[in-house]
Amino acid sequence: MSIAESIQSIGFLADIRESALVYPVIMATHLACIAIFGGMILMTDLRLLALAMTDRTVTDVVNQFRNWKRVGFCIMVTMGILLGASEAAKYTPNPFFWGKMASLILVAAHAVIFRPMVYNNTAAIDAAPSLPGRAKLAGALSLLIWFSILSNGRLIGYWEGPGSPGKPIASSVRSAPQVAATHAQSR
């Protein structure tokens, strides 16, 4: 038995995978958190790019969203781990899954680099005569990385593996519901 199979055979993870209700509820919670807290990340980034909330200082925006973004990130990651671990054997060969994981590492790298320069240094940014380049760079890169996480995450559900039988080539699109239906059947 592979490591992935061992992980997903853990009692409660197998329960999640096999439940008709728990799996979609966790997935919907994951998505609801993306909506609520992803929106905050986006607004922070847009403020750093001077595209939104320009009547507020960078300090106001960064500091006030910070704790909520942390709460949201924790719920999002917890739900994500539950989703991923319950289907571990299916996820490990999926390139989009690894694309998402690599992007998450980039988020950590982004935080390490830009936290001292931008997020913990907002007073200097507000005091500068014009918005410093490092703030714009932090905002732009954050947008890019989160977009990569989001699109890789969505594409995880579309990858059918090399040589999967009857893989349709431009014949008909497998809509998300169809993907989910196949997913439900294959459990």
Binding site: Y23, V25, F37, G39, L46, A52, D60, F65, S151, P177
Partner: protein
């Protein structure tokens, strides 16, 4: 009769997931900005701004998000209208979405402008969060009912 196979959307494998990504980014902007106002109404965050100021700051972005979901959503619907139309979760989602949009631009908007009614504002924020979360859940459950 509408033929799903005749829809140019169904001629490429990449178009549907691309629309989904646009839809997700769109609802992150839409629901995220509304949630920020709701947190403020609940007095849970952004306290250094007045409710009206925050609502005004975020309103254009709420509209951008709404436009994104309302453009991408119907296109996805068109890929398989019969399936969506009969899907119970989709039906619930559409009702909640209609309620949520109407609520957003009537009662919610009014609550952001009226100071000094904390209980009413909190109630409005809770209803708003419940409606929009319901819309997201309705969307996910389309694939599971």
């Amino acid at each position: 009769m509408f033929l799903a196979v005749a829809n140019p959307l169904n001629s490429s494998e990449l178009i549907f997931p691309t629309l989904e990504v646009i839809h997700i980014v769109g609802f992150a902007v839409l629901v995220g900005t509304i949630a920020l106002v709701d947190f403020r109404l609940l007095n849970l965050g952004m306290r250094r701004q007045k409710v009206a100021e925050l609502a005004q700051d975020l309103a254009p972005w709420t509209l951008i998000g709404l436009t994104m979901v309302l453009l991408s959503g119907p296109l996805m619907f068109s890929s398989d209208p019969d399936m969506y139309y009969l899907n119970r979760s989709f039906q619930v989602k559409m009702v909640l979405l209609l309620l949520a949009i109407v609520f957003q631009y009537t009662i919610h908007r009014k609550a952001t402008k009226s100071e000094g009614q904390p209980f009413r504002q909190k109630l409005v924020a809770c209803v708003s969060m419940a409606l929009w979360t319901g819309v997201v859940f309705g969307g996910i459950f389309i694939g599971f009912v």
